[in-house]
């Protein structure tokens, strides 16, 4: 079997390797941004919404609104950590595969990159569903109001 760093000459080998390096940096910066966001939220949380504001009718509704912001921060942290795991794994395994001439590691790295895009694909799909629901709700509201 040919050594990996010989078979993967430029342009493909270089292209995969530089993509992996940039992806690793992007993963770290993205995780740092999310962590600082969570710390900023925990140290200075937004003023709680009281009943009467935002057209809320009772305290239960305002509690739901207040807990929703904490939930969204928690969910974004989980998504960010998952995305970091897959992207950093892609970066690490790709660099390792070129270093040790190990093709199986490169296959794992590429599947990790696919996993990273799978996460964003699913999220985008969920966002699209919410957009569609908002669109339908808007049409129904304009029809019945």
């Amino acid at each position: 079997m040919e050594p990996l760093n010989e078979t993967r000459q430029a342009p493909l080998g270089d292209s995969i390797l530089t993509t992996a390096k940039v992806a690793g940096i992007s993963a770290i910066v993205s995780l740092l941004a999310t962590i600082t966001g969570v710390i900023a939220f925990l140290t200075s949380p937004p003023a709680p919404v009281t009943a009467g504001e935002e057209g809320l009718e009772d305290n239960a509704a305002s509690q739901v609104v207040n807990s929703a912001s904490s939930m969204s921060v928690f969910i974004s942290l989980i998504i960010s950590m998952l995305a970091f795991y897959f992207l950093y794994r892609f970066s690490f395994l790709t660099k390792n595969s070129f270093k040790h001439n190990d093709r199986t590691q490169l296959v794992k790295a590429l599947y990790s990159l696919a996993g990273y895009f799978r996460i964003w694909g699913v999220i985008m799909f969920i966002v699209a569903i919410f957009f569609s629901m908002a669109f339908i709700a808007g049409i129904l509201t304009s029809l019945f109001s």
Binding site: T7, S15, A40, V107, A114, M124, F131
Partner: protein, 142 residues
């Protein structure tokens, strides 16, 4: 030169079939992201064309900062965000297209171009994350 071309054409080698299936999986998910992204973008364009001014005025009124020109800043911010998102989606679209084409044609040059567009996508996301990090740090320190 010929030897390099031969060695570059890695997908013709038997042990790398798994790699091509992994690349195809990447391109499939990237294609889904771009399709959904362009659909959401179209929806946003339609909404902003019909009632964009009203939405941005309401948003400007709801912001805690009350200064002159906040509406203009919001419009500029929206356009900047819109074009950056469009650029990111373009990179992803090109990457998905070239990766699929590269695997089907077993052409390493096309595959390399696909990965080049993925690299551009990661550069764009890294810059956006850096901006977000700076904003968060400013909020933390203020």
């Amino acid at each position: 030169m010929e030897q390099q071309e031969q060695s570059d054409n890695i997908l013709e080698q038997e042990p790398l079939e798994e790699e091509s299936s992994a690349v195809l999986q990447i391109s499939r998910w990237v294609k889904l992201i771009t399709s959904v992204g362009f659909a959401i973008g179209t929806f946003i364009v339609v909404v902003m064309l019909t009632s964009g001014a009203q939405i941005l005025r309401q948003l400007a009124a709801a912001l805690p900062i009350k200064t002159d020109g906040i509406y203009g800043a919001l419009v500029t911010g929206f356009f900047m965000l819109f074009f950056i998102t469009a650029l990111i989606l373009y990179y992803l679209y090109k990457a998905a297209h070239l990766l699929t084409q590269g695997v089907k044609e077993r052409n390493s040059v096309v595959l390399a171009q696909g990965f080049h567009f993925l690299k551009n996508f990661f550069i764009a996301t890294a810059i956006l994350s850096l901006v977000q990090l700076l904003i968060n740090l400013t909020n933390l320190l203020s």
